[in-house]
Symmetry: C2
Subunit: 318 residues, 2 copies
């Protein structure tokens, strides 16, 4: 099944303690697509300026990303310049030039309107809502957001919540949106307003999937070196939604698997600048990391070993 992603396509300049990258591929749609394309076809909708180095998108096209919805408009492309300090926990934005992105009005091509899986990258919630008016009812609509929209477009964001099945946001954003310090309560608050599922991303501390009363947690993969955290969240979303679309299975068991594929893709993303690592991945590499995730959290209780006597700790004492 194909995935439609609508979001930014940018040029990032990033400095980390480990190196510098100038004008590399950036943006939520780009990072999402570079991750999701390993699982199946991706349709991308976005805008770039007349100065965009289109050849940089060739690897995405080669991996099955349909760029028919990528408009090239007169003007400058979206550029973002940032620096990470030694702890890599938060980017210090040095410059944001929206360029043609400030006038972005997503136009969904006819051929994309029946996409069964839709990811609304982090853009104005009014535009996210507008995309949904242009598509036939998909099987799953997921959206991302950020602190800027929570602050400046709160009413629109709350309206959008009534029209999506799933939202991904980080822990700080979840707390900001819901005014709840506790993430379990924050997730319930969000689910009460529409989404059946809430993914709360905690960066290096992993991710929660809340679905009704059920809670699933996947740790971040403990990497020995994190090179550049930019795009980890969108790469996570790409693996997560990409997996769901590829399997076309929205059961809880499969949603849990999808979170692990998402976590795997997020962990690859931070190993290099931009989409360098994710776009070049092979399926066996992805499967290998998923197997490592499994190893990371695997444990058996005595309850598993002795299923009949009714108790682990009890059994251990006798």
């Amino acid at each position: 099944m194909s995935v439609l992603v609508v979001g930014s396509v940018a040029l990032d300049s990033v400095e980390t303690p480990f190196g510098k990258a100038e004008e590399v591929l950036g943006g939520s749609a780009t990072m999402f697509a570079s991750s999701a394309c390993h699982f199946g076809p991706v349709q991308l909708v976005g805008v770039v300026g007349s100065d965009y180095p289109m050849a940089k998108l060739e690897p995405l096209r080669a991996r099955g990303v349909d760029l028919a919805g990528l408009e090239q408009a007169e003007g400058e492309s979206f550029r973002w310049r940032a620096r990470y300090r030694h702890d890599l926990n938060s980017a210090e934005t040095l410059e944001t030039r929206l360029g043609v992105f400030s006038h972005f009005r997503p136009q969904i091509p006819e051929a994309f309107r029946n996409a069964p899986y839709v990811f609304l990258g982090n853009i104005d919630p009014r535009l996210q809502r507008d995309v949904l008016r242009q598509v036939a009812r998909p099987k799953l609509v997921a959206c991302d957001t950020m602190n800027f929209w929570i602050e400046s477009r709160r009413a629109d964001l709350l309206d959008l919540l009534g029209h999506v099945d799933l939202i991904t946001l980080n822990d700080a954003e979840a707390r900001q949106l819901t005014e709840e310090a506790n993430l379990v309560k924050a997730a319930r608050w969000i689910m009460a307003r529409g989404p059946k599922h809430v993914v709360i991303k905690k960066g290096e501390h992993g991710a929660f999937l809340f679905s009704g009363e059920s809670i699933f947690f996947a740790p971040a993969y403990p990497l020995e070196s994190i090179f550049d955290p930019t795009g980890a969240g969108d790469s996570f979303a790409g693996g997560f939604i990409g997996w769901l679309a590829a399997t076309d299975d929205l059961s809880e068991a499969n949603m849990r698997r999808a979170v692990v594929y998402g976590s795997a893709m997020g962990s690859f993303a931070v190993e290099a600048f931009s989409n360098e690592r994710t776009i070049a991945l092979t399926l066996p590499e992805i499967d290998r990391r998923v197997a490592e995730f499994r190893q990371l959290v695997a444990f058996e209780t005595v309850l598993d070993a002795v299923p009949t006597n009714g108790g682990g700790a009890v059994g251990a004492r006798t």
Copy 2:
């Protein structure tokens, strides 16, 4: 098998956004013992002043904690007064009065010297080392520490590392001790200096167990309300070492289980002040929470479902 714990026995006065507790049971040895006692016999070594309300320790004795090593010395007991802000992430110490604890010289009673499992609570590393001179070679020696000792007794702490099998410390302490921001590298640094196992506690973000090349991660249980974080780390250690001693099995599979029992006990500890919740637990309650932990991280990959075709993501595409 019995567990010997050496550490502080204090009176805590704690204020959280949810309430206030005055002169309740506190200290690393107390919190550890209140948790470990559910798994088997515990032998406690510590000191209190002549003003200590000994009746408060009666529930521990009733649950199998041998207090023969608890010295009552002339003078004031160790008192700690602290406040937590709304995020509950770090205690603001308002007052520390060491009292008789400042002259604590652990004397291990003859009857405790063959304890096969030893936990050296967070005290001066020179005293921790001295305890090891008084006991027959145990099957497992674990120690805890804190920022204060890392700063003021670094050489002694490094010496101690050569004599313990396992150390528990939180992420900030691991970074401080090793001067490594990355926790995987920090754990390797510590293991290179003696301990075969390193447990890095990340509070609400879970805990890592490093053993040689293997890494295990257990999330913190996502509670809807955290009442008082005091003693969570020692309660974790009590569940962890308590489980190992009860099962007398140091295999990697069992160490992983032990981390989960530790996490379960830590999650109970924060639901009430002091040891109120942990000491009153029943084994079925503990087993139930362990089962919930299992549910929290449980996922099956397609690799599990289709073990013969050699690939999850590949399988999904075909």
